[in-house]
């Protein structure tokens, strides 16, 4: 009896998937790329399925490198990347690729100190620590920034990401802007030649090592830090204010960051009193001239919907949505997609 029931169930499932497969066979839009925005993109695709049931999105979070490669070889309908594409890569594209910024996130400085006091730091100090020049927690630079906090005479154990990641890109981009020494010694990339420290794989690897090692310092995504209740520092921005990393301070940075016409921008160390300085956007990559008119139309409809309705959902998942001014500019760009 039981087996009969379960076999009926299986039959029903097979039928249902069969039906949905035929429905999606009409319109399946494929994308691949960055892992950082994967949670919000899947949420958007899920919600959008209710808005337009005739289209289904299939997104594979294979990493920004893979996303750029696949959109260049046109094996996907859209790519996704945590860093803008280089001129060199864009030149390889068979058509014009548009960068569509979607959401932004912050990178926070987390640490492990006795009692985990609230800390303040600035770019010079962070660069000094990651260059291996500031070695002790009671270094005058740190104590100077944190009057009233008793910092121990303890070695700083530097932890960085070992895997290539958009988080590292944002972090090193910030350090390169602050410190010319960092720029020449390490530079900006998804993975760099670290002057010092130990590498942890993923946010969980870095936070795990910071949590387990007394005197450690590391950097992780804001989302990860808030969800795991890690302590994180306020960072001095270019206006001289110490800013707490929040969704609002990231959106503030987006509003004041200098964004060029092609949207390949860096929003680290953005001007503005409320802007958190270590933050970055993530992009969808689409061809301006869509090959398949039907797919192109659906893709544009989705992008417009995401701009209009996606922000609230982004906030609920701790991503910073684009501010109104940037949204308007992005919408104009979406209108340029031809199909």
């Amino acid at each position: 009896m039981k087996s009969l029931k379960s076999s009926r169930k299986i039959l029903a499932i097979v039928l249902l998937t069969g039906i949905s497969a035929t429905a999606s066979a009409q319109m399946m839009i494929n994308g691949a790329g960055a892992t950082f925005p994967y949670p919000i993109y899947s949420k958007w695709f899920d919600e959008y399925a209710k808005v337009d049931p005739s289209v289904r999105f299939n997104y594979q979070s294979i990493g920004s490198g893979g996303g750029q490669k696949q959109i260049l070889s046109q094996t996907v309908d859209f790519g996704a990347s945590d860093g803008p594409m280089s001129d060199e890569n864009l030149a390889k594209a068979p058509g014009k690729i548009l960068h569509i910024p979607t959401v932004a996130g912050a990178v926070v400085i987390t640490y492990n100190l006795p009692g985990n006091p609230a800390l303040k730091c600035d770019g010079d100090t962070i660069a000094g620590i990651y260059l291996g020049q500031i070695k002790k927690w009671n270094d005058p630079k740190l104590t100077g920034l944190n009057p009233g906090v008793k910092l121990p005479d303890q070695d700083i154990v530097v932890v960085h990401r070992s895997d290539g990641s958009g988080t590292t890109f944002i972090f090193t981009d910030y350090l390169s802007k602050i410190s010319s020494e960092w720029k020449s010694k390490a530079g900006t990339n998804t993975s760099v030649n670290w002057p010092t420290g130990i590498g942890g794989k993923g946010n969980e690897g870095v936070s795990g090592q910071v949590k387990q090692t007394p005197g450690a310092i590391g950097y992780v995504e804001l989302i990860y830090a808030t969800q795991n209740k890690l302590p994180y520092a306020d960072v001095k921005n270019s206006a001289g204010e110490f800013v707490k990393p929040t969704i609002e301070s990231v959106t503030a940075a987006l509003a004041t960051a200098e964004i060029p016409e092609d949207f390949r921008f860096s929003m680290t160390n953005a001007p503005g009193k409320e802007a958190y300085p270590i933050a970055g956007a993530t992009w969808l990559l689409v061809y301006q001239q869509q090959k398949d008119p039907a797919k192109g139309k659906k893709l544009v409809e989705f992008l417009k919907w995401a701009m209009a309705k996606g922000g609230g959902m982004a906030k609920s998942l701790d991503y910073a949505p684009l501010p109104e001014t940037v949204q308007q500019r992005v919408l104009k760009r979406i209108d340029e997609i031809k199909y």
Binding site: T190, W194, G199, G200, E204, T213
Partner: protein, 327 residues
């Protein structure tokens, strides 16, 4: 067809009893198994070719320097694999040094000494260890093993053996030693299981002969069993080594991921497999990706080389022991 064949066999055997039976089934079986065996060979060749192809530009650009330089700088696009090769070999060596005696002793206990009621639970436990996914072991490594190692065994080693360069320098936790230990844990079950099967297949006559000559239990196990099974046990170790060289995720979690060559085992290291797992997804420039492909090629080459060396070693061991036996 088969029916026709069997009918004709029956008829012919009725006529002349010496006629050979149809060989069609045997032939088909032979060809089929040959085809299956060749698939493995073809796969290996294809993998090698693909890696060679994917790294052709890097091979040309870096040449032999790739194997002898230690800078890994994706920003400046300078790539050298030496620290990764070193890390792979050293971490695997540590793993073997820890895992081989443990595994073979466990296998010997299970087949020669253990009472029956303890045997089965222990075997199941070892097999369960093999079933733990490597990411779980890695997380356990970060949160449990590494802090424990950092607080107790490492300071002990540093205190008493600090005069050996292997155990000097500051202790952060994640390091080459921790990487080796986690690999040891991962290859322990496979070496133990294979060794146990090999020891079980040692004929009882061997043991009985040894006891008949007045051997103690230890002597019987050593001479009649372990020595007899030497070749098989060596094979088990090679199987473990193969896994150790390619082990990725758990090692990445605890080894510290710093491309450097340091005498101290307390310093962080990096392995070939780890750098692939870490950097492949986000490598955006061509030469960077090519260099990673070349890392794969190097790992592939090292695995083959180590296996060949092991085969050679095995041959010398068995031939020398054979001549000794004759003498």
């Amino acid at each position: 067809m088969a029916l026709a064949a069997s009918v004709s066999i029956a008829e012919s055997s009725a006529r002349e009893r010496m006629a050979p039976p149809s060989r069609f089934g045997d032939r088909a079986f032979e060809w089929l198994t040959l085809a299956m065996a060749l698939t493995v060979l073809v796969l290996v060749i294809l993998i090698g070719w693909e890696l060679w192809n994917g790294s052709s530009v890097a091979l040309k650009k870096f040449g032999f320097h790739f194997l002898t330089t230690s800078t890994w700088d994706p920003v400046a696009e300078e790539f050298g694999a030496l620290p990764f090769i070193y890390g792979t070999l050293v971490s695997s060596a540590i793993a073997l040094i820890i895992a081989v005696p443990l595994s073979i002793a466990t296998a010997a206990y299970l087949t020669e000494l253990a009472p029956l009621w303890i045997r089965q639970p222990l075997v199941s436990l070892i097999e369960m260890l093999a079933a733990i996914p490597s990411v779980i072991l890695g997380l356990w490594g970060i949160f449990v093993m590494v802090p424990w190692l950092r607080d107790y065994p490492f300071p002990f080693l540093k205190g008493y053996f600090g005069w050996i360069p292997l155990f000097t320098g500051p202790i952060y936790g994640p390091c080459m030693f921790a990487g080796g230990i986690i690999i040891a844990i991962m290859i322990l079950p496979i070496i133990t299981s294979v060794s146990r099967e090999i020891l079980r297949s040692v004929p009882n006559l061997q043991r009985e002969a040894a006891y008949a000559l007045g051997a103690t239990r230890w002597e019987a196990t050593r001479i009649a069993v372990l020595s007899y099974a030497k070749k098989g046990l060596f094979g088990a170790v090679i199987l473990g080594l193969g896994r150790a060289l390619g082990e990725t995720l758990a090692v990445t979690m605890v080894i510290g991921n710093t491309p450097q060559i340091a005498a101290s085992l307390f310093k962080p290291g990096y392995t070939l497999a780890s750098v692939l797992a870490n950097e492949f997804t986000e490598a955006t420039t061509d030469i960077y990706l090519q260099a990673l492909f070349e890392i794969g090629l190097v790992l592939f080459g090292i695995t083959i080389l180590v296996n060949l060396l092991a085969q050679l070693l095995l041959r010398t061991i068995t031939t020398t022991s054979a001549t000794r036996a004759v003498q």
